[in-house]
């Protein structure tokens, strides 16, 4: 729990939220949260699998899932496939409201980003994500592990 608190800092959560707004702005403008995908994962997966290998990416993601489901219990129903994609959100349709789904996605992405920062440091993580989301206005300070906003 201690490391969980360090990894998913408020700053990391804020960044995760911004990335998801960027990916699917309609989720935040009209509340139509997508139940059927983890789009951020589909953005990250090919890039990080090229870099780390599928096994490497799966390892990062599985740890992020374990850390995040302590905060958001419904994430325990999510399954990781052999290629690193995530399934299981569809089955939860009707049981979760949009805010809960959003909260789970943010928690998971924040943990994943936290792991990257823990391994690579803020600067390298920022550069890496800048290649994946080149049009977002992230900066290196967003990945600071100090936790302040």
């Amino acid at each position: 729990m201690r490391s969980q608190m360090i990894r998913a800092t408020p700053r990391m959560r804020s960044l995760a939220k911004n990335l998801m707004v960027y990916e699917r702005p309609e989720e935040y403008t009209n509340g139509s949260v997508a139940h059927d995908d983890f789009r951020f994962n589909e953005r990250l997966r090919p890039q990080l699998s090229t870099l780390y290998g599928i096994a490497g990416y799966r390892s990062l993601l599985s740890r992020a899932l374990v850390m995040a489901d302590a905060e958001v219990p419904w994430l325990r129903e999510v399954h990781m496939m052999a290629d690193g994609s995530l399934k299981g959100l569809e089955a939860l349709r009707g049981h979760l409201d949009p805010d809960e789904i959003l909260e789970g996605k943010i928690a998971l992405l924040a943990q994943l980003l936290g792991s990257l920062v823990a391994y690579l440091g803020p600067s390298l993580t920022w550069r890496l994500l800048g290649k994946i989301w080149p049009k977002t206005s992230m900066n290196e300070a967003d990945f600071s592990d100090r936790g302040e906003l």
């Binding site: 699998s49 090229t50 870099l51 780390y52 290998g53 599928i54 096994a55 490497g56 990062l60 391994y119 690579l120 440091g121 600067s123 390298l124 550069r127 890496l128 290649k131």
Partner: protein, 522 residues
């Protein structure tokens, strides 16, 4: 190659045409300090090389340095990782080095993990993926790490053939695409003879590490490099903040010889000693001051440096026994203002006592300092301390390395004063327990002698390669001004060199000397 071309040209009327037709091969910088000098300029462009050695020698770091030094957005470096160190960890550790330029990642340098492919498919699939990536990126530099692990993928009777075929096709393809290639792999020395891979590659960069007693020493050897001359032998390698640093056996001093048109005599800072030496030390000479503990070797060395500073000649003091503060404090007492010179940047005092030091590293430190301050005088105090500061494994090479350094520095016109402690015997007068006198142009021997119920000090110039010198044995004291030669040669004693002379003449009248001897306090 060059010789053959010249010979052919001399016998042929098409001499000029032959020269024009010869291809100019560009040399790429390695990004590894000292390595370009070992490689006579750098890595040959489009060459197919292997960086081999046992685990932990710095192979991956070297490959990274080469990649970062050469990768550009137009001709990126592709770093393929295969079943070796996870990239996440690789990036985590490699970013600690100063050469690691994050801005190149993802653009000029691209990491591609082939582990999944290698685990699920055969070598043909791996080759196809490499070819696809190289074509797409127009890669100028390719690294495959670890190639050894990839080669192990092949198994069964056909494995050798399969690996050879894979390597051959890879080499052909990458050469065709004008990529300079480095295969990184954990190999052992005895494999070089038997593994055909080593025959196929253009260059073999071999890293090794050995441990002796408590020290570990890393070495680099360029076992093979087609079409290019290299500095032969084993070169010391150190891994520091900047990555690998190779210390060429020539210390980067090849071709650095500066012919002094007219050599001056440099004052030692002790006027009577200058007279004994026929005017002083010849510029560009190496003087060895040998004597037992307490005879004033360090004091003399300080006077030599201070005299140079007075005359506008910058200096370096490489000290191995005493702390710099002690040195400076004593110099102050002699009225030699070393601190001011240090602040002015005309003097640098190097205190070199780290463990596991190699001779080449020490010498590099000294050479760097000489370059920084533009030194004309160098003190090494002492050779015994220098040797003791070395890792045990390097001590065997001490004399050879010292020979190389002294030869190179004096060749460049730098005047060196080295001290060495010798134990006084009462039967002879050894110059040193090393056979190092051949290294030096001049030798000054200090020793204790028993005279009139006192243990006094005498000095004698044993040898001066550059000219004649006094044969007198002169008594000296160490006063508040430093070493001071006090008497003309003694004719009333025989056997001064034994330390227990025989009085042969009437006792010379002399002033009573205050006890203790008026020596500068520490």
């Amino acid at each position: 190659m060059r010789k053959r071309a010249e010979t052919a040209g001399a016998a042929s009327p098409r001499k000029g045409a032959g020269k024009q037709a010869r291809v100019t091969i560009r040399k790429l910088p390695t990004g590894v300090r000292g390595l370009d000098e070992i490689l006579s300029g750098g890595i040959l462009e489009y060459s197919f090389n292997i960086i081999g050695g046992e685990p932990g020698c710095g192979k991956t770091t070297m490959a990274h340095q080469i990649a970062f030094a050469n990768a550009t957005p137009d001709r990126p470096a592709l770093y393929f990782t295969v079943l070796g160190e996870p990239v996440l960890k690789m990036l985590r550790y490699q970013q600690q080095f100063s050469f690691f330029d994050e801005s190149k990642l993802g653009g000029a340098i691209r990491f591609i993990n082939l582990s999944d492919l290698a685990m699920t498919k055969d070598l043909n699939a791996v080759l196809e993926e490499i070819m696809k990536q190289v074509k797409e990126a127009n890669a100028g530099l390719v690294v495959i790490d670890s190639f050894r692990t990839l080669a192990r993928k092949a198994s069964g009777e056909r494995s050798d053939t399969e690996v050879m075929s894979f390597t051959y096709r890879l080499a052909q393809f990458l050469t065709g695409w004008e990529a300079t290639t480095f295969l990184v792999g954990e190999y052992f020395a005895d494999e070089i003879r038997d593994n055909p891979l080593f025959t196929m590659v253009d260059g073999i960069f071999w890293l090794s590490q050995t441990s002796e007693r408590n020290s570990v020493v890393r070495k680099l050897q360029i076992i093979k490099l087609r079409g290019q001359e290299t500095v032969p032998g084993l070169h010391t390698v150190r891994i520091g903040d900047g990555g690998l640093h190779a210390f060429s056996r020539t210390l980067g001093l090849t071709g650095n010889t500066k012919k002094l048109v007219r050599r001056r005599y440099l004052s030692t800072g002790v006027p009577e000693l200058d007279k004994m030496m026929g005017g002083g030390i010849l510029e560009g000479d190496s003087l060895l001051v040998a004597g037992p503990s307490g005879t004033g070797k360090s004091t003399l060395a300080t006077q030599f440096i201070a005299e140079g500073l007075r005359r506008g000649e910058s200096g370096i003091m490489a000290i191995f026994e005493e702390r710099p503060e002690g040195y400076t404090r004593r110099a102050d007492m002699f009225g030699l203002k070393l601190k001011a010179a240090e602040q002015k940047g005309t003097l640098e005092t190097l205190y070199l006592r780290p463990l596991d030091l190699s001779v080449d590293e020490t010498m590099q430190e000294i050479l760097d300092a000489i370059e920084r301050v533009g030194a004309r005088r160098l003190v090494i105090d002492s050779l015994v301390g220098f040797e003791m500061a070395l890792a045990p494994g390097f001590r065997a090479d001490f004399r050879e390395s010292l020979y190389r350094m002294i030869g190179a520095l004096t060749g460049a016109g730098i005047t060196i004063l080295s001290t060495v402690e010798v134990e006084d015997t009462f039967t002879g007068m050894p110059f040193s327990h090393y056979a190092i006198s051949f290294l030096t142009d001049d030798i000054l021997r200090l020793r204790y002698v028993e005279i009139d119920g006192q243990l006094r000090k005498v000095m004698v110039v044993i040898k001066m390669r550059g000219g004649n010198h006094s044969k007198d044995i002169r008594e000296y004291v160490i006063t508040g001004k430093g070493v001071v030669v006090i008497h003309p040669r003694r004719t009333d004693y025989n056997g001064l060199t034994t330390g227990i002379p025989q009085q042969t003449g009437p006792r010379r009248a002399q002033d009573d000397e205050a006890a203790p001897e008026p020596k500068a306090n520490e």
